[in-house]
């Protein structure tokens, strides 16, 4: 006898739907993996978004170019301080299909600064900063393809350097309190230009109609001045700066500095920062030879080598076995504009700002720090997981040489895509599997009849709990900033939007258990809309926790790293049990 208020409509069995769902998830995962495949991809190489037959060329002087000139522009300005800039930009049309050959021919010419296919950026958020188009390095690092999902909101990046000067293309609201370890006061303003340039690469104001852009424009910047006006400092001050920044909330540390001497104080500070949940990104050094400088060579540091516009190791970049990844640091042997462009102090000034092209492994490092901030803003709080993500999504380097390129060339967009879309599918698959096991068990022991099936609200709750809304993040997430939480699973919301210790609310079974208990006490739990919704949410939450345990994506305050997976596994089981408890026809007696 069927309960009178249950309407059973003809539909596929749960098993069929689970199988279809898992097959679909598997197919999407394979597609995602294919999208992240490591085919050799030099910077701005031919791709599917190219406009057929169109190529843009930047010349040192007017010269003959192949094909038909569609548009040309000569720009002369003194925007870049002392370095008077003059360039000749030409857009040419060639026979579609011949782009690769023409590009190769152009790139071999000494009078060509760069040449690249014209790309159609449909759907991408393109900032209106007038000189963004000159920041080849941000495009090469995958920044603009990441910005539709996240811009680094909620993450504090410490710039442990010469300080940060509040130039007008840095949002003062993004600058948090820092410390000056050279002058022993709270005035951490830059008096050199190096730290401000580095800070600009991380979080220059972007989309403000002014100047240039930064990798993670909504991240917060913490100025930690450990280097003097000459750009040098002591191991003691740097170690103190590392500890201070972590103790004051920085989760990404940018160390565009180094030296050849090993310092136990600094080594222990780097390990402390990593243990406390910070990613410590360090410059490899500028010797142009084998031998990574300290602190990049310490355990716990994420060492960055520098590449030029073509993705080849810059001639000045140090290299060695400690290199984790390569990022754009500029190669001005190819011309001024092959450097990294940001706003900083004008040459010789301690108050006037200018847009300047720098090169060095110091410039490569903040691209990685910015990418780390983008990933961390998505609720990935374990530094090891952030580093693994950046490494595993890196583009293939021009040669398979881990000492020069580490895991490959930084691709922030691929890292962001995996943290949202890729991991979202895994969480969903785990949640569906958990629900399938629970439903099968409930039917097996007679708590549910075969015809009693969870409704749409159950599946909606499961999707929300598993963070499946993250699959929509690239479409809606940062276009409507109020919905930026969509890119994170709900389990990550308390840690991301409240204080770090609130992470225990999300990364536990507290929420599903607290919601399931009253639902379980209600009549016919699963068969009420509320009960179904909560059951689904609990399975989704369990899927998220299980994923976090396996991928080790989460770090919580006071929780030793070794215990974290066990905490998450236990929480996943409790969350699953909370959902399972709702799969019953009768209320709890």
């Amino acid at each position: 006898m069927m309960p009178p208020d249950v309407v059973v409509a003809p539909r596929a069995s749960l098993r069929e739907r689970v199988v279809v769902g898992l097959v679909a998830a598997g197919a999407l995962l394979l597609l995602g993996a294919a999208g992240c495949s490591r085919t050799p991809a030099p910077v701005m190489e031919l791709g599917e978004d190219d406009v057929p037959g169109l190529i843009e060329v930047e010349l040192r002087a007017p010269a003959q170019v192949p094909g038909t000139v569609v548009d040309q522009e000569e720009q002369e300005d003194d925007l870049y301080g002392d370095a008077f800039s003059s360039e000749f930009s030409v857009e040419i049309r060639v026979e579609p299909g011949t782009e690769a050959a023409v590009l190769a021919q152009l790139r071999a010419r000494p009078d060509v600064i760069w040449a690249e296919p014209v790309v159609r950026y449909q759907g991408l958020w393109i900032p209106d900063d007038p000189d963004f188009s000159k920041q080849w390095h941000l495009k090469a690092a995958g920044a603009e393809r990441a910005w539709d999902t996240t811009r680094g909101e909620g993450v504090t990046v410490a710039v442990i350097d010469t300080g940060i000067y509040p130039v007008d293309d840095l949002d003062p609201a993004r600058l948090v309190k820092g410390w000056n370890f050279v002058g022993h006061n709270d005035d951490a303003r830059d008096d050199h230009a190096h730290g401000t340039h580095v800070a600009g690469t991380i979080a220059q104001s972007t989309g403000n109609g002014k100047g240039v852009a930064g990798m993670a424009p909504r991240a917060r910047l913490m100025p930690i001045k450990v280097l003097s006006q000459f750009g040098s400092g002591t191991s003691h001050d740097i170690a103190e700066g590392i500890r201070w920044s972590v103790d004051h909330g920085a989760r990404v540390l940018n160390l565009s500095l180094g030296g050849g001497g090993r310092s136990l104080a600094m080594e222990s500070a780097v390990e402390y920062a990593h243990r406390r949940g910070a990613v410590v990104v360090c410059a490899a050094g500028n010797t142009g030879s084998r031998g990574v400088s300290y602190p990049a060579a310490y355990r716990g540091a994420f060492a960055v080598s520098a590449v030029g516009p073509q993705g080849k190791l810059a001639p000045y970049s140090s290299f060695g076995p400690q290199i984790a990844i390569a990022a754009p640091g500029g190669d001005k042997s190819q011309g001024e504009e092959a450097g990294v462009l940001q706003q900083t102090l004008a040459e010789g000034s301690t108050s006037e700002a200018a847009f300047r092209w720098f090169q060095g492994t110091s410039m490569a490092t903040p691209h990685v720090a910015g990418a780390a901030a983008l990933v961390m803003s998505l609720g990935v709080t374990s530094p090891g997981a952030v580093e693994d993500l950046l490494r595993s999504t890196a583009k293939a380097a021009p040669s398979n040489d881990p000492e020069r390129y580490g895991a490959g060339l930084l691709d922030a967009a691929a890292a962001v895509r995996r943290a949202t879309f890729g991991w979202g599918l895994w969480r969903l698959a785990f949640a569906i599997l958990g629900a399938w096991v629970a439903l099968r068990h409930a039917r097996g022991i007679g708590q549910l009849r075969a015809a009693e099936k969870p409704g749409a609200l159950f599946w909606a709750g499961l999707g929300v709990g598993a963070g499946a809304l993250a699959l929509l993040a690239p479409i809606a997430g940062e276009r409507i900033s109020a919905l930026s939480f969509l890119a994170l699973p709900p389990a990550a919301w308390p840690q991301r939007f409240l204080v770090p210790v609130a992470g225990y609310i999300g990364w536990s079974a507290l929420v599903p258990f607290a919601l399931a208990l009253p639902a379980r006490l209600a009549s016919r739990p699963l068969l009420t809309a509320f009960g179904g919704l909560i059951a689904g949410l609990a399975f989704g939450w369990a899927g998220t926790l299980l994923h976090a345990a396996i991928w080790r994506t989460v770090a919580l305050p006071f929780m030793p790293g070794l215990l974290m997976p066990f905490w998450l596994l236990a929480s996943a089981f409790v969350a699953w049990a909370a959902g399972r408890g709702l799969l019953a026809r009768e209320p709890l007696r």
Binding site: D161, G231, G259, G260, N286, G360
Partner: protein
């Protein structure tokens, strides 16, 4: 210590000054940019002290400059 050699400007990290000593050793110079700019391309005697610390140059030994004398 006193080192004689030639000062050059190196376009790294926003601009560094480097002394290539007569014995072939290279030092990143830490000092007044104005003074170092004026000495660029010239043979000089630099008086100063080796700085074992850390910095933005990351390209070898650092020499903290007390005086630069053109020779």
């Amino acid at each position: 210590m006193k080192v004689t050699g030639t000062v050059e400007f190196v376009d790294l990290e926003g601009g560094l000054y480097r002394l290539t000593a007569d014995d072939g050793k290279r030092y990143t110079l830490l000092g007044s940019r104005g003074e170092l700019k004026a000495a660029t391309g010239k043979r000089v005697e630099v008086e100063g002290a080796l700085d074992e610390g850390f910095g933005i140059g990351m390209s070898g030994a650092q020499l903290r400059v007390a005086r630069v004398k053109k020779i």
